[in-house]
């Protein structure tokens, strides 16, 4: 039994595949993936990496779609394809697994009304498509509404304990209303971006000349994810953590065995199969308190790590949030808006 099979079959952890590439999705499902995560960047990359597969489908799109409509239509192509591939899993696990994701326009991260309308459209693509939206104050409003409507969600652009707890709070509020109106509360995944936080703190610590060793910095995201996991367990919330932005084996072995979902791209799957680490649950291992002390010297880590490190209105202004939104937009959503279209982008650079 290889490591990925062990993770899937012998622990509470499941793992999903992280790309929209048809060949990679097929391989991942053979390896035991129970769902597919995509985002605007992965969607754009998929269109580019397997053009022969996608071109006939892309050509069916109307050319008079506006920018946002075109990006949405392309996301729909890839998301619905991925959703079909994992639909059997959705059926056999009774909606616990077997989803694909449809992410909202990152340029709308502060626009609750716009996101809610877009989210309902995304959900109409298929019953096993979860709406991916940012953990900003506006996003939290939308989470509550969607949960009330029974729409499965995945909160992303989340790098801190306080964001994850705020999503869980919004979920619980929506769940109460759902139950009161007789509908079943949906799946709620809370992404925890581990590697992205490490990258950000590395730059900040260097700028402050704090001289924090790399061996400490690379534990920052994991420490935050573990703390969120502990809080979620304590609260007995139905929300499920999804560590993402994995940079190395330690990000997987460090939380293996937990009741959570990993999202793993093909390169990382290959790496895990190649390195074949010890099949041992790491979820119970605390991060060395000395490392936490070292990281606590970075004020931006304190904001990410403390359960009350940020208020909801600060989520959108946190450095990593802006980095992620910008990256999703510039290398994903914006290129999709004009992909194989005769229209020229009018956005500012």
């Amino acid at each position: 039994m290889n490591y990925l099979e062990w993770l899937d079959q012998c622990t509470s952890t499941t793992w999903w595949h992280d790309s929209g590439n048809p060949d990679e999705i097929a391989l991942a499902i053979r390896r035991g993936a129970k769902g597919v995560t995509t985002n605007p960047v992965l969607t754009y990359r998929s269109l580019q990496s397997q053009p022969d597969f996608w071109l006939p489908r892309v050509r069916t799109l109307r050319d008079d779609l506006d920018f946002e409509e075109r990006a949405e239509a392309l996301l729909e192509l890839v998301a619905t394809y991925a959703a079909e591939q994992v639909y059997p899993v959705y059926k056999t696990t009774k909606g616990r697994n077997g989803y694909a994701l449809g992410q909202l326009n990152p340029a709308r991260a502060g626009d609750a009304e716009g996101m809610l309308l877009q989210a309902r459209r995304v959900h109409s693509w298929g019953e096993n498509i979860a709406v991916k939206l940012p953990a900003t104050a506006a996003g939290l409003d939308v989470v509550e509404h969607l949960v009330e409507e029974g729409i499965p969600i995945c909160a992303t652009i989340n790098v801190s304990v306080s964001q994850a707890l705020a999503v869980a709070d919004a979920y619980e509020r929506g769940k109460k209303k759902a139950i009161a109106s007789g509908s079943a509360p949906p799946l709620c995944i809370v992404v925890q971006q581990v590697g992205r936080l490490d990258d950000y703190l590395r730059d900040v610590a260097m700028d402050m000349r704090l001289d924090i060793p790399e061996s400490d910095l690379r534990m920052a995201g994991l420490a935050v994810a573990k703390r969120t996991y502990a809080r979620f367990t304590q609260r007995k919330t139905d929300c499920v953590i999804m560590p993402a932005g994995l940079r190395g084996e330690y990000h997987i072995t460090g939380m293996a065995g937990g009741n959570l979902i990993y999202t793993i791209n093909t390169r990382m799957q290959d790496m895990m199969l190649e390195s074949d680490p010890e099949q041992r649950p790491g979820i119970g291992d605390p991060v060395d308190p000395k490392i936490i002390d070292s990281l606590m010297r970075i004020p931006e880590f304190v904001r990410a790590y403390e359960p009350d490190g940020m208020t909801p209105s600060e989520f959108i202004s946190y450095g990593v949030t802006q980095k992620l939104l910008s990256q999703f937009y510039e290398t994903g959503w914006a290129p999709l808006e004009t992909y194989l279209s005769s229209r020229v982008s009018t956005r500012w650079i």
């Binding site: 991260a109 502060g110 626009d111 609750a112 900003t136 104050a137 506006a138 950000y200 590395r202 730059d203 900040v204 610590a205 260097m206 700028d207 402050m208 004020p299 931006e300 209105s313 600060e314 959108i316 202004s317 946190y318 450095g319 990593v320 949030t321 802006q322 980095k323 939104l325 910008s326 990256q327 510039e330 290398t331 500012w348 650079i349």
Partner: protein, 349 residues
């Protein structure tokens, strides 16, 4: 070529200096016919001209060593474009008018917290030509390097800068650097403190929506202008000879409301075109922003960070939302695509 009355008036009849914000050749000719006296470039603009006008750059590209990779390659590509324009600007520079005849070249946006790396790169860039301006980020590390460069007599601009505290820190760094230069008998070069007025507005717009703030669109489009006017007053009061540089303008309002200031305005071709329709030739730098507008904007924590003299400490600069958004854009739409650009012969498009 069409006459641009406003730009001719601005550059010819006021203290404002106009720099052209593009590296595309056909746009450059038009800019200079309208009175541009310098050029701002960034990794995105360099990438745009190399990919859009490859045939023109072919000869210079062919002189590069084969097989360059990564950051070394990008730096050489930036040099290829910047070096060409520096030669073009030399006749203007030789006229000896302050602020005229320069071209900017930006350091690696992936290393905004790494003072040692940026200092080494800044020294290399400064050696390309006497009229090259090294563009550094206004982070704590970047401003440290800025001072070192002033002390060595290099021309420097602090970019990725949106706020009053950032430009004040840059102004102070230049004063320190000039004192050190004087001790060594070095003549200081040109010093610029960029303020990306439109990018600040864009950021605050999202934050305002997200927090359902009282500030409306008419307030938001005055945020960058308000910060700029305050910084301009403070620079005059303190006698700083650093040129403020309004940049990232999003509408004609940014240029009109700052017209007449003794600053260098970085104006993109898109804005230049919009200015064709402006017939209001009036110096408005001393006209204050409506206090009610400021009052509504001051509800927002992120605006107070930008507007108040002590709104941020230097260690906060790298964490500011706009900084992260802009840096990511420079990386994803400029530096990374340049690293992927195939400059070898036989690639002629």
């Amino acid at each position: 070529m069409k006459e641009n009355g406003f730009l001719k008036w601005l550059s010819g009849s006021t203290r404002s200096v106009y720099w052209h914000d593009s590296a595309i050749r056909c746009e450059q000719l038009e800019g200079f016919s309208n009175g541009a006296a310098g050029m701002t470039t960034n990794p995105f603009l360099v990438n745009a001209t190399l990919r859009g006008d490859t045939a023109f750059w072919r000869n210079r590209l062919d002189h590069l060593p084969k097989g360059l990779q990564g950051d070394v390659k990008v730096e050489e590509l930036v040099r290829c474009v910047t070096g060409f324009y520096a030669e073009q600007m030399l006749p203007i520079r030789r006229m000896g008018i302050p602020g005229k005849g320069y071209v900017c070249a930006q350091v690696n946006p992936n290393r905004t917290g790494d003072a040692e790396y940026m200092f080494e790169q800044a020294k290399r860039i400064a050696s390309w030509a006497t009229n090259v301006v090294v563009k550094l980020p206004a982070t704590a590390a970047g401003i440290e390097v800025y001072e070192e460069c002033v002390a060595l007599g290099h021309n420097v601009a602090a970019t990725v800068s949106f706020t009053v505290p950032q430009v004040l820190a840059v102004g102070e760094a230049r004063e320190r650097g000039k004192r050190r230069a004087a001790k060594n008998g070095t003549t200081p070069g040109l010093g610029i403190a960029v303020m990306m007025v439109g990018r600040l507005d864009d950021y605050l717009r999202d934050v305002a929506h997200d927090s359902r703030a009282r500030a409306g669109e008419q307030d938001i489009v005055n945020a960058g202008t308000a910060c700029m006017k305050r910084a301009y007053g403070l620079f005059n009061e303190r006698g700083y000879d650093t040129f403020l540089m309004p940049a990232g303008c999003r509408g004609v309002n940014h240029v009109i409301d700052l017209a007449g200031a003794k600053v260098i305005m970085s104006i993109a071709p898109k804005i230049a075109k919009m200015l064709m329709d402006v017939n209001q030739f009036e110096e408005r730098i001393d006209v204050p922003v409506d206090p009610d507008v400021i009052d509504r904007l001051m509800d927002m924590n992120e605006f107070r960070k930008a507007y108040e003299v002590d709104g941020m400490k230097p260690a906060d600069f790298i964490t500011f939302g706009s900084s992260n958004r802009t840096t990511t854009q420079f990386i994803e739409c400029g530096w990374n695509p340049l690293a992927d650009f195939d400059y070898g012969a036989g690639e002629l498009l």
